[in-house]
């Protein structure tokens, strides 16, 4: 349940929900739990391009900074401005609290992303559970 089956995942703990050539991106429940209380997000502007596996922004908790990596390449079509004033929403529900929406420019890149089951396995291996 922690990781929706319809999403795809990165090893850097982002999720992407792809519908056609549109993608919605956030961070995983594991990522928000590891970070702790999130107090700050730095996101690109609408119209910016993001590149697969490259940093597109950052998320900060009280004690840590973490880069955000784009799961696939694309152009930013929407930014969740609500997170500027209420970044803690990511802690409350990481699965539905999106950060950016993009139009995919190379949809085939998504083939190399992890499924929910693979991501869950990856996290459990990373944490030794």
């Amino acid at each position: 349940m922690a990781y929706p089956a319809e999403y795809r995942y990165t090893k850097e703990h982002e999720w992407i929900h792809i519908e056609g050539t549109n993608g919605t991106i956030g961070i995983t429940d594991y990522a928000q739990d590891s970070l702790g209380d999130i107090v700050f997000v730095d996101l690109p502007k609408v119209g910016a391009t993001v590149e697969a596996h490259k940093v597109f922004g950052s998320v900060e908790s009280v004690k840590a900074v973490s880069d955000l990596y784009a799961p696939v390449s694309g152009t930013v079509t929407a930014v969740n401005d609500e997170l500027t004033s209420a970044p803690e929403k990511i802690n409350t529900d990481a699965n539905t609290t999106w950060m950016i929406k993009i139009t995919l420019t190379a949809p085939a890149e998504a083939d190399s992303l992890l499924s929910a089951a693979d991501y869950e396995k990856f996290v459990s291996e990373e944490t030794g559970h």
Binding site: G36, V39, D42, E60, S61, V62, K63
Partner: protein, 378 residues
């Protein structure tokens, strides 16, 4: 991640299993496997500011000096003047190297005539003990003991700390002034040292109990039970750090170190130059003789959106690097992004404008008075 077995090289306090049972996130802190947070850093921080929180600080070290030579040894070793302490009184002090930089900061407690206890930092314990023995170990009429592993040290901190502890002791806590201590019965244990000290900028107490696991866990749990009506939370090192930062208290390796002298760290008020010689005194006098330090620790508040963190570069506005952040973080109670930073004297005045380099961008900040947070007068 949270409850995997820690590598055996990490040291554990007697409450390690208790922290893990509470599902604390554990981190390596100076070689110790310690809880960084339980329910959440911000909630824990706010509990201490508005109610009460409980910290395991057993990783701190304890060095005791006994014998007729103990005052002379403490005063040679530490920059504050221990001759001013009454029995039952404590003060902030520091051990210095001959060049005026820090071996460690310490709290000196006068237990009785010829009997002093120095509470030292966890990450510097071995270094401190070696330094103490090398520096004053051969002075006459003194016996030095490292009692670090004999005590579980618990900090009960916050405006309701007194109400919680009062339920567990028959000692009249109102008679213990800030930075004084006494001994009393706590949770059925006799002769527990009860000190009105802490590292949060809040009222509170630190108690020293035997370090066996059963006693430590029992007292920990009794404090949490007694504090339930006041909303007590177990608190980790994460909140401990943000609380001390809001109160502008130094952390070894950040605001003080073997590369930072007393005046740079803004702790000159604790260096008693007129008490007689002590290790580091000549170097401090030399700093004063050339007109004071070239750089100084100041409080910064971020003006633009961004969080300046430990190690980030401080710049002149629109210009080059001038300094470095010692500790920087969001301040959960103040709801601002704050930092303690070393800057040249010409940038150290309140309201001076500076910038912090955050991921390649200059973000505006200004110098503000410290402490950032002061507890309300009661």
């Amino acid at each position: 991640m949270t409850d995997a077995a820690a590598p055996i090289t990490l040291r554990r306090t007697a409450l390690n299993a208790t922290h893990r049972a509470l599902k604390a996130k554990m981190v390596d802190f100076g070689g110790w496997d310690m809880p960084v947070e339980y329910s959440g850093l911000i909630a824990e921080h706010m509990a201490v500011r508005t109610g009460v929180g409980l910290f395991d600080v057993s990783h701190m070290g304890d060095i005791q000096f006994r014998g007729p030579g103990s005052l002379a040894a403490v005063n040679r070793l530490c920059m504050n003047d221990a001759s001013k302490l009454a029995v039952g009184q404590a003060h902030y002090s520091a051990m210095l190297y001959p060049n005026g930089t820090f071996v460690d900061d310490v709290v000196v407690h006068k237990l009785s005539e010829n009997d002093y206890l120095l509470v030292i930092n966890a990450g510097t314990r071995e270094k401190d003990v070696q330094w103490v023995r090398a520096t004053v170990g051969t002075m006459p009429s003194i016996h030095i003991n490292d009692y670090s592993d004999m005590y579980t040290q618990l900090a009960i901190q916050g405006p309701r700390a007194k109400d919680v502890l009062a339920k567990l002791t028959d000692t009249d806590l109102s008679t213990i002034k800030n930075y004084w201590f006494t001994w009393g019965k706590v949770c059925g244990l006799y002769n527990v040292m009860i000190a009105r000290t802490g590292y949060t900028g809040e009222d509170g107490f630190e108690i020293y109990i035997p370090s066996d696991e059963a006693t430590s866990a029992r007292v920990w749990n009794e404090i949490l039970a007694a504090g339930a009506e006041f909303g007590i939370l177990p608190c980790g090192l994460g909140a401990r750090n943000t609380l001390r930062l809001e109160s502008a208290m130094a952390l070894y390796g950040h605001e003080i170190s073997d590369e930072i002298n007393v005046y740079e760290a803004n702790l000159g008020r604790y260096a008693k130059m007129d008490k007689g010689d002590f290790v580091g005194r000549d170097a401090l006098e030399a700093v004063t003789a050339v007109g004071g330090p070239k750089r100084k620790l100041v409080g910064l508040e971020m003006v633009e959106r961004g969080i300046g963190r430990d190690g980030y570069t401080v710049c002149a506005p629109g210009g080059g690097a001038i300094g470095v952040i010692a500790s920087g973080s969001p301040a959960p109670f103040l709801k601002k992004n704050i930092a303690l930073a070393f800057v040249p004297i010409e940038y150290a005045a309140v309201d001076a404008e500076v910038a912090v380099e955050i991921r390649g961008q200059q973000v505006k900040a200004k110098v503000v008075p410290t402490p950032f947070y002061k507890k309300p007068k009661v």
